[in-house]
């Protein structure tokens, strides 16, 4: 008895710590259908356009999902004929497909809107079961399925922009910057978008300013272990890195606290992160997910959304931008650097810097 239990603990220790999150989304039998999905089945008849927002995760604490919900809601508020329901599928990636299938199975929702690089594939599998269901996926890419429209942000430009900022900070004489030309990148996990687009884009941005700058790339292993994020970042700061780009979800909080501890800098991705610390965030390259969600929902409601196509939008289209108007940014970053990053953004926008999104 004791012995078996001992093995159970070992198993649990490995399962709950080591091999987290990267679960395969296929093949796991679902225990429960998406709870709220069937609740409003009577509304379908009333001629309204019902829209479901499927959150692969939890909205609270995730700025990109918060932007998605607010954008869709804003579009729906302008049109009396639309109803929006938000469904959270939770952190267990293995349950997403089942919950999405259950949601599509209610046949109450004309459009299901979601956002995550993993979702196009899941949607196309569900689409085989319910071919009349339309899906809209932001922050994902899939072409050629007539039931799915995807909208991808140009993460290459986004990473390039923040890379330029990182290079400017490490080469500057800002208070926390040292003489070493080393910049860090901490990611939650390795995934195609990270390895093939964000990392190379970031590096390209760094080298465009000064080719001698080295990049140190490390991963936490999951998106929530903030202590580990703090340890990793602490070691990197000790090794002569003075600025780190954190793309690590909740673990990014650990990077912020290490930066505060050591008096160094953090770069933020996807949303405005200046308010997260007291003068450690030295740049954010963000996406306008709320704008995209709003516009796309409006198009979908009016029936003009080209399903089957996949759009990619970046700086030029106004969906990727550098947050340079925040008082915290203006306070800690000298004007010279701010002018340079503004210039870079304009160059990308004009097409003076060619940034072709790599295959991922």
């Amino acid at each position: 008895m004791k012995k078996y239990f001992f093995y159970l603990i070992i198993f649990a220790a490995v399962y709950f710590t080591g091999c987290s999150a990267k679960t395969d989304s296929s093949g796991q039998a679902g225990e429960e259908p998406a709870g709220k999905g069937s609740a409003s089945s009577s509304e379908a008849v009333s001629g309204k356009i019902n829209i479901a927002v499927f959150i692969p995760g939890v909205t609270a604490g995730s700025p990109t999902y918060e932007m998605l919900v607010s954008g869709v809601q804003q579009a729906a508020d302008e049109n009396r004929e639309t109803e929006v329901l938000v469904i959270e599928a939770g952190f267990n990636q293995g349950e997403w497909e089942n919950k999405l299938t259950a949601l599509a199975g209610t046949k109450n929702y004309k459009y299901i809107i979601t956002s995550n690089p993993a979702m196009p594939e899941i949607c196309s599998r569900v689409s085989k079961i319910y071919p009349e269901q339309k899906f809209i996926v932001l922050d994902g890419y899939l072409k050629g399925n007539n039931n799915i429209y995807t909208f991808l942000y140009n993460s290459y430009e986004q990473a390039y922009l923040i890379g330029v900022m990182g290079a400017l900070v490490t080469g500057s004489d800002m208070k926390g910057a040292d003489r070493n030309l080393k910049v860090g990148l901490i990611a939650g996990q390795e995934y195609p978008m990270m390895n093939n687009v964000i990392k190379p884009g970031f590096e390209k941005g760094l080298k465009s300013v000064n080719s001698a700058i080295e990049m140190d790339f490390r991963i936490v292993g999951n998106w929530y272990d903030a202590s580990k994020g703090a340890e990793l970042a602490g070691q990197m700061y000790n090794s002569g890195i003075d600025v780190i780009l954190a793309i690590a979800g909740g673990a990014g909080q650990g990077v912020l606290s290490a930066a505060k501890d050591k008096g160094k800098y953090v770069l933020w991705f996807d949303n405005n992160g200046y308010s997260l610390s007291d003068g450690q965030v030295a740049g954010c390259s963000a996406i306008r997910q709320d704008k995209a969600a709003y516009e796309i929902t409006k198009k979908a409601v009016s029936g003009t959304l080209p399903f089957g196509s996949a759009d990619i939008a970046g700086v030029k289209e106004g969906y990727v931008y550098f947050v340079d108007d925040d008082p915290a940014f203006i306070k800690i970053v000298p004007e010279e650097l701010r002018a340079k990053i503004k210039e870079t953004e304009e160059m990308i926008s004009k097409g003076a810097v060619k940034l072709e999104m790599p295959h991922f």
Binding site: F5, F6, I9, I10, A12, A13, V14, F16, T17, G18, S20, V58, A60, G61, S62, F91, E190, D216, F217, R218, I219, G221, N222, Y224, D225, A226, S227, K228, A230, E231, L232, G234, Q235, M236, S239, G250, A251, Q253, G254, S257, K260, D261, L276
Partner: protein, 273 residues
């Protein structure tokens, strides 16, 4: 580097010494993970609400102990299997944290500390280091520690002497609750925030450390240090070894597992002689 290792080891040491008491008296508490989580949550929430770090720490200890007492109540009073009630307590902790964070904190998710709790993280490491001699003394040289061990070995002995083993089990679970609460607060203090899933399996690792340390406080302590060093090493090597980071991340677990195997093999051999 050494400072980092001790900082990393702090929650492991606190939780596993707490768990050790429960293991010694024969009712291992596997709800350490949930207790750490709930401790971290209340430490941040209450210190934010009151502005006092000490009150935050007390709330962490209280919440975590309460969870331990619930586990104890179900296991000893209502005679439920302690593994089952422990697992249930872990799940309950996750649920409670989600519920309370939506009720008490607008938006939920990451809760940043508004107090200077981050500066107090040294206190926790010092406390964890002091815990080694303290627990060693209590377990080996006090009547309480000895009766605790006897409760695990043979209940009957205690019964015949007119002592209730349940008292020792309840208090052992309470000790694990208190220490896990502090462990949770130490995690939150180090980051200066509460992050969902902040415990990240540390309670389970602490359980492994109890067995790895052969239920002796000094060896349990060492196992925690070993694991923390392995973790630190893995973080450090990621910077320059050209191995896939995913492999390096598995290193702490591989090291722990291999040391466990080697130690038990050596022990078996020496016992045979």
């Amino acid at each position: 580097m050494i400072e980092d290792i001790f900082k990393t080891a702090t929650p492991y040491i606190l939780a596993s010494i707490g768990g050790l008491f429960t293991e010694l008296c024969g009712s291992l508490n596997i709800a350490l993970e949930g207790q750490i989580l709930i401790g971290a949550f209340w430490a941040i929430v209450v210190s934010n609400m009151t502005g006092s770090i000490v009150l935050g720490l007390l709330a962490a200890v209280a919440a975590s102990s309460l969870l331990a007492l619930i586990t104890a109540l179900f296991s000893f009073r209502f005679r439920a299997n302690i593994f089952i009630s422990g697992l249930a307590a872990n799940l309950l902790a996750y649920g409670l944290v989600t519920v309370f964070s939506t009720i008490l904190v607008k938006g939920g998710g990451v809760i940043r500390a508004e107090t200077a709790i981050q500066g107090s993280s040294y206190f926790f490491t010092v406390f964890a280091l002091l815990l080694l001699p303290l627990s060693w003394y209590v377990i080996n040289y006090t009547p309480y520690g000895m009766r605790c061990r006897v409760a695990g070995l043979s209940e009957a002995v205690l019964y015949y002497r007119g002592i209730s083993p349940d008292f020792y089990r309840y208090t052992a679970l309470l000790i694990s609750g208190v220490l896990c609460g502090i462990a949770g607060a130490s995690l939150a203090a180090r980051i200066g925030a509460f992050v969902p899933n902040i415990s990240s399996g540390r309670g389970w690792i602490a359980l492994v450390a109890i067995y790895l340390g052969y239920r002796k406080p000094q060896w349990v302590f060492l196992s925690c240090i070993l694991f923390a060093s392995a973790e630190s090493l893995a973080n450090w090597t990621q910077g320059f070894i050209g191995m896939p980071a995913t492999v390096i991340l598995a290193l702490p677990y591989l090291i722990t597992l291999s040391v466990l195997t080697i130690v038990s093999a050596v022990r078996k051999k020496t016992e045979q002689r």
